[in-house]
């Protein structure tokens, strides 16, 4: 068809079928995996799980924000009403010239604030006023830009929202006055709008907004990032606004990232005296994170679990780098996606019932994978020989066992979290926090190894033994409260026991004393029974007797305390084993922290340096393979130039550099080192060299300097 003699362009219209196919997320997910069915299933699992997690976190964040938003709304409403009541009230008359301002302190991570502001302006628009504008510092470099933004957003949005006939007239108005945007325009606009509202045009928007919107809805201007604003611009804007405060019910919301004293740093007294500032402090981001972790990770509700290392990576990025809850959640999402993508057995990582169904439907390939799981192999080793053979040969048997193990795993989780919380409640108030102040630290600790083998655990127990009665009972009561929510059988049993203990604590001492005597009888009886003794046992009994003599004077409370702690200890030992000990834990736990770190905490500079000093790392070309520290002379020009520049000092002579480069490249071309034109600079080499050097400059390794002609200066230090 295209084999015509003449040259020309041929248009190929793509066939309809081909064009329709645009890859979806699912296609990306399943791309490259041999088992499409399985990966589709995984993708669906992943999606549902993520949707659920997302919904939960959003709900939680709304809840956390609610308090501060409610108080903000109340503040704004109150000021609206004072504006409307006019000058009747003495106090409001005295403050009539102030612009009510809410200083909203939100913490240093600015991108996280967007959500808060979004919900604030949504709520304001729903219940208080349609006139809400948000401005950002980047849009307001100069005063006129700022005023323009405010006007555009106020008048523009309401025009589109309002009645149908309005737009033409209003938009032309705006266009005319664009030249001189000033607050007078806004004033006139506001008057007309409120007049229309007062005369009662029945608009669809109006009715929904309701009667709450009185005659003078306030104009709320939200300054999203106060620190970034140019102080001059802000001052002028406030000064101008204060001139119109009698005609326009203006209100400001300052989004502050650092501390409220920024207001004083940015605004001189003559300006800040025009504002009536009220302070609102949001929840600190660490608390926010704690509640997110509590809701999403420390629960058996979600089958997906990050391992200790992964969680540590996520938390340390949060604590060390950005304080951003949003990034933490994104990181968690990435871990989730990676888990489902990289682990074929994650088909089983879903709700218990579904998981059991999936387990019966495992393909032979998956069963093989299952058998190869380290935790499963460990499990097999623990079984009797007959069982071992079965497990290694019969697919059906493996599936059955797998179901059982999955059930066990779910049970393990159901027991793990309540006990973890109990232990945290008990240890969180200890001096110096031996097991961590936050529950996540304890959790990470438990994930990594047997917590009761830790020194810190021993010292925590020691400290608990010294606790006063009221402290201990209140902590135990909290534990009981936690256990009440546990649904597993074992938890209920534990709760029963704990309640018993608590009841004993409540008993007055004299009642307990009688019991005490009975208890002692029991122990002495036990001792009496011991008849046969060898030397070792004698020693042991003597030691015990000595101990018991010392403890004889133990009060009722002390005995009870020991009992309680022993009970807790036994709970910890039976339920807080690390997940590695559970067969099939790989199904639920995502543990490749290195992948996560590489994705979330990128090191561009290291990557560039690796690429330049070891091109094989990225290019995977066998010719480029070289021993440590050297670069093959067949490497790309920029690598050679980079390598040569490492040998220079702070200033690099360009000509020497070029010579050296030419020599290396000539060697690569296989020229005879003795020939006359070896290492000679021809035009092509020159051009290649210049290109490589300018690439290095672009990457920021060198820059031109005026100190010496024909030289460039190095911007990095260290040699090769």
């Amino acid at each position: 068809m295209t084999s015509s003699v003449s040259k020309g362009c041929f248009v190929f219209k793509p066939s309809v079928k081909k064009r329709r196919k645009t890859p979806t997320v699912e296609d990306y997910f399943t791309h490259g995996s041999e088992d499409t069915e399985n990966s589709k299933l995984r993708f669906r699992n992943c999606q549902t799980l993520w949707d659920q997690m997302k919904a939960d976190t959003e709900l939680l964040q709304d809840e956390l924000n609610r308090k501060i938003l409610d108080s903000l709304l109340a503040f704004i409403r109150k000021n609206v009403s004072t504006f409307q009541r006019g000058t009747d009230d003495w106090a409001s008359r005295m403050r009539a010239h102030e612009i009510p301002t809410a200083a909203l302190v939100l913490g240093v991570n600015v991108p996280d604030h967007d959500m808060t502001f979004q919900s604030l302006s949504d709520q304001l628009q729903q219940s208080v006023t349609p006139f809400v504008v948000s401005v950002q510092a980047t849009e307001c470099a100069a005063l006129n830009h700022m005023i323009q933004r405010v006007l555009e957003r106020l008048m523009g949005t309401t025009v589109s929202v309002d009645d149908e006939e309005e737009p033409e007239r209003c938009s032309t108005n705006v266009n005319q006055k664009r030249v001189h945007c000033s607050l007078i325009t806004l004033c006139n606009w506001y008057k007309t709008v409120t007049k229309i509202a007062a005369s009662g045009t029945p608009g669809k928007k109006r009715t929904s907004v309701g009667k709450d919107m009185q005659q003078h809805p306030p104009i709320v201007v939200i300054f999203k990032d106060l620190e970034a604003f140019n102080p001059r611009v802000l001052q002028d804007f406030i000064l101008i606004c204060s001139r119109y405060v009698e005609q326009l019910p203006l209100m400001f919301v300052f989004g502050i990232a650092t501390s409220p004293s920024t207001i004083q740093h940015m605004l001189p007294h003559s300006v800040s005296s025009l504002l009536g500032i009220e302070l609102f402090q949001s929840l600190s981001c660490t608390q926010h994170l704690a509640s997110i972790i509590d809701k999403v990770i420390l629960t058996y509700q979600f089958p997906f679990k990050p391992s200790g290392k992964v969680l540590q990576v996520l938390v340390s990025i949060f604590l060390y780098h950005d304080f951003s809850v949003r990034n933490f959640i994104k990181g968690l999402q990435l871990a989730l996606l990676e888990h489902f993508h990289s682990q074929p057995l994650s088909v089983l990582c879903c709700k218990k019932e579904e998981a059991l169904v999936h387990a019966t439907e495992l393909s032979p390939r998956d069963v093989e994978r299952l058998q190869q799981l380290p935790s499963f192999m460990r499990y097999v080793e623990e079984q009797g020989p007959q069982e071992q053979v079965e497990l290694l040969t019969s697919d059906d048997h493996v599936k059955e066992v797998c179901q059982k193990l999955l059930k066990d795993l779910h049970k393990y989780h159901k027991n793990y979290y309540p006990i973890l919380r109990c232990l945290h409640v008990l240890t969180a108030s200890l001096p110096k926090y031996p097991l961590g102040k936050q529950i996540r630290e304890l959790h990470i600790c438990c994930l990594e190894k047997n917590v009761w083998e830790n020194e810190e655990y021993a010292s925590a127990m020691q400290l608990l033994r010294m606790m006063a009665k009221d402290e201990l009972t209140s902590a135990l009561q909290k534990c009981a409260e936690i256990l009440k929510h546990g649904k597993a059988k074992k938890m209920r049993a534990a709760l029963l026991q704990l309640d018993n203990l608590l009841a004993k604590f409540e008993q007055p001492d004299d009642v307990a004393a009688a019991e005490n005597v009975a208890g002692e009888d029991l122990t002495s009886q036990g001792k009496g029974r011991q008849k046969k003794t060898d030397l070792f046992q004698l020693q042991k009994t003597l030691l015990e007797m000595k101990k018991s003599r010392r403890t004889k004077k133990m009060s009722h409370f002390e005995i009870l305390r020991d009992q309680a702690l022993e009970f807790i200890d036994s709970l910890v030992r039976s339920h807080l084993a690390p997940p590695e000990s559970q067969p099939l834990y790989e199904v639920c736990y995502y543990s490749s922290s290195a992948v996560l770190r590489r994705h979330l905490n990128a090191t561009p500079r290291t990557s560039i340096q690796t690429a330049l000093s070891n091109p094989y790392h990225y290019l995977k070309n066998e010719n480029l393979r070289a021993e440590d520290g050297t670069v093959s002379n067949a490497a790309p020009d920029i690598c050679i130039v980079y390598k040569l520049h490492l040998e220079c000092g702070r200033l690099i002579n360009l000509y020497d550099w070029l010579e050296a480069y030419a020599t290396v490249v000539s060697a690569a071309e296989g020229k005879d080192p003795d020939s006359a034109d070896f290492g000679k600079v021809d035009e092509l080499k020159h051009a290649r060299f210049i290109q490589a050097v300018s690439e290095l400059e672009f990457l920021g390794f060198i820059k031109s300097t005026k100190q010496k002609t024909d030289h460039v200066s190095r911007l990095t230090w260290g040699g090769c």
């Binding site: 005295m94 200083a103 000033s182 990032d225 500032i277 780098h321 290291t606």
Partner: protein, 435 residues
């Protein structure tokens, strides 16, 4: 009242009302009236009024012009981002709404004069027109010909117009090099204590008797007059001091004394609004604590590495670069402070303020200060720029932003000490000034 009768051409009743609304400014008001003369009389081309904040400059002018129903335009120069806006506003308020359309897109002064003349012919009136320019000091920053032109606008437009300039700065700071028409200067002195008392007592609280209220004002002035004479600030204090319970003046003092004491600590700061103020007072009745205003919340939560970056930036800003070796190398040898430094470096660096430093130095100090190994990840660099947006660091210089950006540390010593305490870093040991 004898002075008033001289101002002919105005109704007595109106004059009476004006004077009532201008307490303690009788002298200035009647002087102004005298200058203005009768409505039809030709008036002086320009008047310059100056005086401190809240001495009633704008109030007097506006009340006079408004109550006496004179044609006037009042423009605040802050609002006028462009000259065009200024002209437009003047024309709008003097000649009505469609007058501004005659101006071209970016009008020059001569355009304004031309349009003014044209409109004057159409709407001729014998009354003196007044143009009030508030915050006139900003006129100096606008085009050079603006201020001289406004001073003799009467001549230029050949109309009976008076320009009144209001400012907090004395006239000497205005006078252009080239010389100009000298306006009449009128000074508004600060209110005296008695006058303040009289003014503040006027807006008495409806639920208290005027006597009691004025006693309250008296007490308040007695406490604050020595530190604060700004009427606006005093009014703020009045409105924010929780009001006394009913009773005689002796009880009054007892009731409000503690509140005044607390207000004294935060005068001028305007830290808390009334509601929060009252809540605090209630709280403090139970637990005696210091007043927590805006400045009490100076604590800033920062990520761990951001704290160290800030510490490194502070060290780089306040230590001479040559001393870095001394602080951050293990075997630096002994360097004595006195003979090590050049003369000019001997003065305290904290007195001189922060010095700019390049990014390299910041990172070098950062890596030696932070106790663990930190990979040079993108997030570390991100944190530097977010510190800049939080205004804890400042970026200086505009050349070479990509290759070698320079920064300055913008936080105070107290702030950095508090930060370093949270990461248990001994700041003072590393500061050259405290060696």
């Amino acid at each position: 009242m004898a002075a008033q009768r001289q101002h002919q051409g105005y109704e007595d009743e109106k004059l009476q009302r004006v004077m009532e609304r201008l307490p303690c400014r009788d002298v200035q008001a009647s002087l102004l009236l005298a200058l203005m003369g009768e409505p039809e009389q030709c008036s002086y081309p320009s008047i310059f009024i100056y005086g401190h904040r809240a001495t009633g400059k704008s109030h007097v002018i506006h009340t006079l012009l408004k109550e006496l129903e004179l044609p006037y335009a009042t423009v605040s120069c802050v609002e006028c981002v462009s000259v065009g806006l200024l002209f437009e506003q003047v024309l709008l308020s003097l000649f009505g709404s469609d007058s501004a359309s005659l101006l071209s897109r970016s009008p020059s002064l001569s355009d304004f004069v031309r349009v003014y003349k044209q409109l004057c012919v159409q709407a001729s009136s014998k009354q003196t027109r007044y143009i009030v320019l508030d915050r006139a000091e900003l006129l100096r920053d606008m085009e050079a010909n603006l201020l001289p032109a406004f001073l003799r606008l009467q001549e230029l437009v050949e109309d009976n117009v008076t320009v009144i300039l209001l400012s907090e700065i004395v006239w000497d700071k205005f006078r252009p090099n080239t010389g100009c028409f000298e306006p009449l200067l009128l000074y508004f002195p600060d209110y005296s204590k008695g006058e303040l008392q009289q003014i503040l007592s006027e807006d008495s609280h409806p639920s208290y008797s005027p006597e009691l209220y004025s006693a309250f004002i008296n007490i308040l002035l007695g406490v604050f007059y020595s530190v604060c004479r700004d009427l606006r600030e005093l009014r703020h204090l009045v409105s924010y001091t929780p009001l006394m319970k009913e009773g005689d003046t002796h009880k009054l003092w007892r009731n409000i004394e503690p509140h005044l004491k607390k207000a004294m600590q935060t005068v001028y700061l305007r830290e808390v609004s009334s509601v929060q103020w009252e809540q605090q007072l209630q709280k403090e009745e139970k637990e005696a604590g210091a007043v927590r205003g805006l400045s009490a919340h100076a604590h800033v939560e920062l990520p761990y590495y951001s704290k160290f970056l800030l510490i490194a930036a502070y060290l780089a800003s306040y230590n001479p670069a040559r001393t870095d070796k001394r602080f951050f190398l293990k075997h630096h040898g002994k360097i004595k402070k006195t003979n090590f430094l050049k003369k000019h470096e001997k003065t305290s660096n904290h007195l001189l303020g922060p010095k700019p430093f390049p990014l390299d130095r910041l990172l070098a100090i950062f890596y030696s200060v932070v106790d663990s190994r930190v990979a040079p990840t993108a997030s570390v660099f991100c944190q530097i720029s977010s510190l800049v947006t939080l205004q804890l660091l400042n970026q200086v210089g505009h050349d070479d932003q990509l290759d070698a950006p320079k920064y300055k540390c913008a936080v105070s010593l107290d702030f950095i000490l508090a930060i370093s305490r949270t990461v248990s870093f001994d700041m003072v040991k590393y500061l050259y000034d405290f060696l």
